[in-house]
């Protein structure tokens, strides 16, 4: 029983992390049909920006409690500078090309950004551990967890709920759904599709950067941070159904719980359990859990 509680808590924390890291990918795919490998770079950039900016401000005497806001600000900064730059500067000229060619362009961007990160921040690790322990911790089932993990869960819920609300309850969201369903007609009706693409890409990148920024306090920010996230988030959004917001949420929860259970009961299988889940889901639901012909995609 006690172990089961730990499985669920660990699973939920991991799911929250996965969801924030992956949801931007599904948003961008849903709207633009781009499987964005550079998503991992935005995650890494978010983490680097958060660690270096918050670190500098804390060293300059900022009250530690403000560091949570700084994490968010750092992610915003990364997305607002780089998102439009990449979308307007490169991607928009490529929309007529094959899906896979665009995927390769994002892969080339990923390679370039890896070295850009190295040129800016070097190879030494960055730490911004203060926010992790700042809020104290709680005890469950003989285990201690820092409250910060709840912040991560909160960020995940806020991201998911915020996205869902924007898409279904606001005018912008409805226009965006029109763009998703028929780009040509939307354009004919006077919707500025190019701007929607730019905003979507920036927003999707922002989500990746937030994922990185809020992970930064729990890890050491090092080169190669983004690589690991790419395939993991691919797996999550594919399990859920590419382009589906509830799918990404469900995918994250499934992967999170399965991984956590594996670690507790069968640690040897941790290495490939995620891909096993992905293969199983695709074998029985070839387009993922939430991707039906008539399903409403974001």
């Amino acid at each position: 029983m006690q172990q089961l509680v730990a499985v669920v808590i660990d699973g939920i924390i991991y799911s929250a992390w996965l969801f924030v890291a992956a949801v931007g990918l599904t948003l961008i795919y849903g709207v633009m049909k781009i499987l964005n490998v550079a998503h991992g770079s935005f995650y890494a950039l978010g983490a680097y920006a958060a660690a270096s900016i918050a670190g500098a401000l804390l060293a300059g005497g900022m009250p530690p409690m403000l560091s949570y806001a700084v994490l968010l600000g750092a992610a915003l900064l990364v997305a607002i500078v780089l998102g439009p730059l990449i979308e307007r500067g490169i991607l928009r000229f490529m929309y007529a090309r094959d899906e896979v060619v665009i995927l390769l362009i994002t892969y080339a961007l990923f390679l370039i950004l890896e070295d850009v990160i190295k040129l800016i921040w070097g190879v030494d690790p960055y730490f911004i551990a203060e926010p992790y322990g700042l809020l104290g911790s709680f005890d469950v089932a003989d285990l201690t967890y820092p409250y910060y993990n709840l912040i991560l869960v909160g960020v995940a819920i806020a991201c998911g709920a915020g996205l869902a609300w924007t898409l279904t309850r606001t005018k912008t969201g409805k226009l965006l759904l029109a763009v998703i369903h028929d780009t040509e007609v939307s354009r004919a009706m006077g919707i500025n599709v190019g701007r929607f693409y730019m905003v979507t890409f920036t927003f999707g990148s922002l989500l990746a950067a937030i994922g990185g920024a809020f992970t930064a306090p729990t890890v050491s920010v090092v080169p190669g941070l983004g690589v690991e996230v790419i395939v993991l988030s691919f797996a999550v959004v594919v399990i859920g159904g590419l382009g589906s917001l509830p799918g990404a949420a469900l995918g994250a929860v499934i992967v999170g719980l399965v991984r956590s259970a594996t670690i507790h009961y069968l640690p040897q299988a941790e290495l490939f359990v995620i891909y096993l889940v992905m293969a199983m889901v695709l074998a029985f639901r070839p387009r993922g859990l939430f991707m039906l012909a008539e399903a409403r995609k974001i």
């Binding site: 000229f93 490529m94 896979v100 390769l104 080339a108 370039i112 190295k118 395939v231 797996a235 695709l282």
Partner: protein
């Protein structure tokens, strides 16, 4: 109809490789051999790409080919370069035949990602197999040619000659295949699968066949890479390796069976130069070069050769 010049061009390339090989500096011979191995994999991917399918898990068969060659050497002490390559090809094709029943039902991104999942599961299994050295892998015996071990200074040339001969045969067969009714179905499947079915052909069957051929070529390339490099490890099945193969294929274009080999050669060349010129930022050079090719040559490198003729 224009006379088919491809077999002659292929033959000429083979002749050049065989004749120039002994005089080329050794540091050129090795990457060319590696490029042939990778070109074989890309050739298979090209067949799939022509019907609109992209596999992000082709490294699975590359790695199966390599491990088959390695295990044959380890367990049975076989070291004939052709035996190892053909064995790698056979095991890869057999695996693809089985997985093909599932994968032939998938299209688009899901085909790519399911094949990725399979390659990553195989990677995981190899990492877990500590008797095979886990991620460190193990050495492959130096290969022999029909039972003869060439003298040290001729080993590299012998492997190159064997590799280019095999690649020549493979490219020629694929070229022929693309002109058969089943082979020429590819663009039709890409455009409209329903019409293909109405014509009485089975798209799923055609894709299954293509998938097995692609895997066989990847296994061949893997076996060749194993004997050439002399060491194998599970990373050969990792998704980044698959990504590299896809990159080569797209870079090359689908115009001709020569294109994948050209793509592989240029990819290896760029990477080699990038390593030498900027050891600290070679990824950026590689990424920039690849981006430039995609942007300025929309139909791949092969379009450079087509342009003159189309005019």
């Amino acid at each position: 109809m224009r006379p088919d010049r491809t077999p002659w061009v292929l033959g000429a390339i083979l002749a050049v490789l065989l004749v120039v090989g002994p005089f080329a500096p050794l540091w050129v011979v090795f990457p060319v051999t590696i490029a042939i191995a990778k070109g074989l994999v890309a050739l298979g991917l090209m067949i799939l790409l022509r019907c609109g399918l992209v596999s992000f898990g082709q490294a699975l068969y590359y790695c199966i080919g390599a491990y088959t060659a390695g295990m044959l050497g380890r367990v049975f002490e076989l070291d004939g370069v052709f035996t190892l390559m053909l064995a790698g090809m056979a095991v890869a094709a057999a695996t693809a035949y089985v997985l093909g029943f599932l994968l032939a039902r998938y299209r688009g991104i899901f085909f790519g990602l399911l094949s990725l999942a399979f390659s990553m599961i195989f990677y995981g299994l190899l990492v877990k197999s500590e008797t095979l050295g886990s991620t460190d892998g193990f050495n492959v015996l130096p290969s022999t040619l029909f039972g003869i071990r060439p003298a040290d200074e001729w080993v590299r040339y012998a492997v190159l000659a064997a590799a280019s001969s095999v690649a020549f045969v493979a490219a020629l067969l694929v070229h022929r295949y693309l002109r058969t009714p089943l082979g020429s179905l590819a663009p039709a499947i890409k455009d409209n699968e329903i019409r293909v079915e109405y014509m009485g052909a089975s798209a799923r069957y055609a894709i299954h066949v293509k998938y097995v051929i692609a895997a066989a070529l990847a296994g061949l390339g893997g076996g060749l890479a194993a004997t050439t490099v002399g060491h194998i490890d599970p990373e050969m099945a990792y998704w980044t390796v698959s990504g590299e193969f896809v990159f080569i294929t797209i870079l090359a274009g689908t115009g001709n069976v020569i294109a994948p080999f050209l793509g592989a050669l240029i990819f290896e060349g760029i990477r080699n130069v990038a390593f030498a010129v900027s050891p600290n930022t070679w990824q950026m050079v590689l990424g920039g070069a690849l981006l430039a090719v995609i942007v300025f040559l929309p139909n791949g490198l092969w379009s450079l050769f087509r342009r003159g003729r189309a005019a």
